[in-house]
């Protein structure tokens, strides 16, 4: 068997923009993936799985500066002698964050762009595009632009592009995240049917897909570790903290007061395609309740309106019918803004100041009734609780740290209710459960949006789902 991918003695360190140099991300990392093999590389956060994927694609350190040493060969060719555009049919990459890969103005145009680069005829492109759109349930969205798509739909677009190009090596970074069960199954089928070499990077082990992979590896201590599966999974759970007890199990809540959030006869409407050509998407919510101290999960297919409903609950969007009540009192959008904390999936939209300390104190300092010394005390306490360093710069912190900072900001706001949009996406279970426990400890009610049924099971509580445009309690 010949190797699709061969990495030997790879070392990489990101360029430091501060006084202190960065620690190396990889040191003497070796990896060999045989042709047609499907490999799962488990990697807890900060271990560099996305960086490794980008190095293999030839875009790091080119666009993400750092010092790279070692040898990488793709299908026998030395990567250092190739340009990333030459790898189009060799190696295809699906990012953990689909939004960063969109370049065209429509879904159809997005799939067409790489096919145009390959110089294919219009007929061939049309055949491939139609087939891939149909396979990934995107035919009706062919004219939609990225902004109109849900997280799962974006991921499906990237997978459709991958299928349309048909590269020999598929590099997939957290590919099952954002996908609902139907599309997870479809992805699994695709990986089996295509018979390509596949490398999947994941920060969580999905037992349901265990048989999909020929080998499971671990990225830890700056290198790839291969060992017997059970031992490897135990080590992975330990590194990610998933072998620790569920922090919510032993949690004592301090319920100072009890509240209830309720949405009655609400109609959530979202313009699917801007302009006049398409009908808006509608979700009916007859009755939704969330009580203090409760953790309620919300699941549903991609694009079914989970995020749209969340936006309405926290007053960012207006309901077309019905209303949202807090303790039986109808709430205006402004009042909802101030009572419901909504942690966006992407923390970068919610943190913006130069230091952690400024970030945490921003809201508190605007409240005249809180003394400066009290602000300092609360900020320090929150930083300790969420394991943050006050002097750190948020924009250069790792993803889980930014996520923790985002949660700490809301913790200090002390809202009676929180909506956590796919909190578990790209976090270990333990890290995600710890954040939930922290936010809940003062009795806040939590609505947790997730696609991961295993994660949802860690949270014992009521569950809502969306079926055929209706929100129903399971």
């Amino acid at each position: 068997m010949s190797a699709s991918l061969s990495i030997s003695r790879l070392s990489f360190t990101y360029q430091s923009w501060g006084i202190r140099p960065n620690d190396p991300l990889f040191a003497n990392l070796d990896l060999r993936v045989e042709e047609g093999e499907r490999v799962l590389i488990l990697a807890p956060f900060d271990k560099g799985k996305t960086t490794l994927a980008k190095i293999i694609c030839g875009v790091c350190p080119k666009y993400f500066p750092g010092t790279l040493e070692g040898k990488i060969a793709l299908f026998g060719k030395d990567l250092s002698e190739l340009q990333s555009w030459q790898l189009l049919t060799e190696c295809g990459y699906v990012s953990q964050n689909p939004a960063e890969q969109f370049i065209a103005t429509t879904v159809e145009g997005e799939i067409a762009f790489p096919l145009e680069s390959l110089g294919l005829s219009r007929e061939e492109m049309k055949t491939r595009i139609d087939r891939c759109l149909a396979r990934w349930g995107l035919t009706e969205l062919r004219g939609a632009n990225e902004e109109e798509l849900s997280g799962g739909e974006r991921k499906r677009v990237l997978l459709a592009i991958q299928e349309a190009i048909g590269p020999k090596l598929w590099l997939l970074d957290e590919p099952f995240d954002d996908l609902d069960p139907r599309w997870r199954t479809q992805l699994r089928q695709t990986l089996i049917e295509k018979g390509k070499t596949v490398v999947v990077f994941a920060s969580r082990y999905l037992a349901e897909f265990a048989d999909l992979f020929d080998r499971t590896l671990l990225l830890d201590e700056r290198r790839i570790i291969e060992m017997e599966r059970e031992a490897l999974l135990a080590r992975f759970a330990h590194v990610g903290g998933d072998d620790l007890p569920n922090p919510m199990k032993t949690q004592q809540l301090s319920l100072a007061s009890s509240h209830q959030l309720q949405a009655r006869n609400v109609v959530v409407e979202r313009q699917r395609h801007r302009g006049t050509a398409h009908q808006p998407f509608v979700l009916d919510v007859e009755n939704f309740t969330l009580n203090s101290g409760e953790v309620v999960t919300l699941t549903g297919p991609n694009g079914s309106g989970k995020s749209s409903f969340s936006r309405l609950l926290c007053g960012l969007d207006e309901a077309k019918g019905g209303a949202v009540f807090l303790d039986d009192k109808e709430m205006s959008e402004r009042q909802l803004n101030r009572n419901i904390g909504y942690l966006f999936q992407n923390p970068d939209f919610q943190i913006f100041l130069p230091t952690v300390e400024e970030e945490l104190s921003w809201s508190l300092r605007r409240r005249r009734e809180i003394k400066s010394s009290e602000v300092t005390r609360r900020v320090k306490e929150a930083a300790e609780l969420f394991d943050l360093v006050l002097e750190d710069t948020p924009s250069t912190m790792s993803y889980p740290k930014r996520k923790a900072l985002q949660a700490a900001v809301y913790y200090l706001l002390d809202r009676p209710f929180y909506i956590l949009d796919e909190l578990d996406s790209a976090l270990t279970y333990h890290a995600a459960l710890t954040i939930i426990a922290r936010l809940r400890e003062r009795g806040a009610g939590i609505l947790l949006i997730t696609h991961d049924h295993v994660f949802a099971k860690h949270v014992e509580g009521r569950a809502y789902t969306i079926e055929a445009g209706r929100l129903v309690q399971r």
């Binding site: 969109f102 145009e116 049309k126 990225e146 009572n339 913006f352 809201s363 508190l364």
Partner: protein, 255 residues
């Protein structure tokens, strides 16, 4: 990176040949700088806004206006100071704060700015990126230059979109129900929002470059095009209409 600008629709602007649309855009941009009456300029801008409303919907028209609003406010606040000669309108003792000429000049500047913004955004809102590139290539622009122009223009809505999302997140981080903000506080709040937008925009640059290369931009093969302009069969008529429209505006509104 989100660079979505196209809005699906069926209005007449969608049916206008993209090659003619580009010519119309250029001619209108030139028209705004010709010696025309202020009323004529403002009427033309209003007409363009109405056309945009009819073709792409009021939401888009409002979104475009909102995205340029901060710039317009700066323009309206500061540019009258640069023209203090003429008939005084506002005076503090002997110091002239605003003159009639300064106000009119500001109005003209704002009109041009709004007009050019709408003309450019309407081109990209009613034409898919692939067709814009083909149309630019028809006007003898190399592929990469056409792509750069398209991406540059579509970067504006990306920034506007980021601004909206970040503003929303800031709204959710307001301290409490008792908090009231005056105008100075609101203006101060703009700074972290703009900083965040800048950070998001800067971060998107390597991602965009990475994505373009990963999608094969730069390969040796001759690039083909999925989109075609074959469905536009009235190129000559559309070009003629574009020229006639701008000529008529010039004849009616010339100073």
């Amino acid at each position: 990176m989100n660079i979505s600008t196209y809005i699906s629709g069926r209005g007449w602007l969608y049916r206008l040949d993209p090659r003619a649309k580009i010519l119309l855009m250029l001619l209108l941009c030139v028209f705004f700088f010709l010696p025309i009456s202020l009323a004529g300029l403002l009427i033309t801008v209003a007409l363009i806004v109405v056309v945009g409303w009819h073709n792409t919907g009021k939401r888009n028209v409002w979104a475009v206006f909102r995205s340029i609003l901060p710039m317009l406010i700066f323009m309206v606040i500061f540019s009258p100071f640069s023209g203090r000669g003429g008939t005084p309108l506002v005076q503090i003792r002997s110091f002239t704060l605003l003159t009639k000429e300064g106000a009119l000049q500001t109005l003209r500047l704002a009109g041009r700015f709004i007009g050019i913004t709408y003309v450019c955004t309407l081109l990209f809102a009613t034409t898919v990126m692939g067709e814009v590139i083909l149309a630019l290539r028809f006007w003898r622009l190399p592929y990469k230059a056409a792509l750069v122009i398209t991406l540059s223009f579509t970067y504006i809505p990306f920034i506007a979109e980021s601004f909206d999302r970040i503003s929303e997140s800031h709204r959710l981080r307001q301290a409490g129900p008792d908090e009231r903000k005056n105008y100075i506080q609101r203006l101060k709040d703009l700074m972290p929002t703009l900083t965040s937008v800048l950070v998001v925009a800067l971060r998107s640059i390597p991602n965009l470059a990475m994505s373009l290369e990963m999608r094969g931009l730069g390969r040796d093969e001759k690039r083909t095009s999925y989109h075609s302009l074959d469905s536009y069969t009235r190129l000559f008529t559309d070009l003629l209409i574009s020229i006639i429209m701008v000529t008529l505006l010039w004849l009616i509104f010339k100073a």
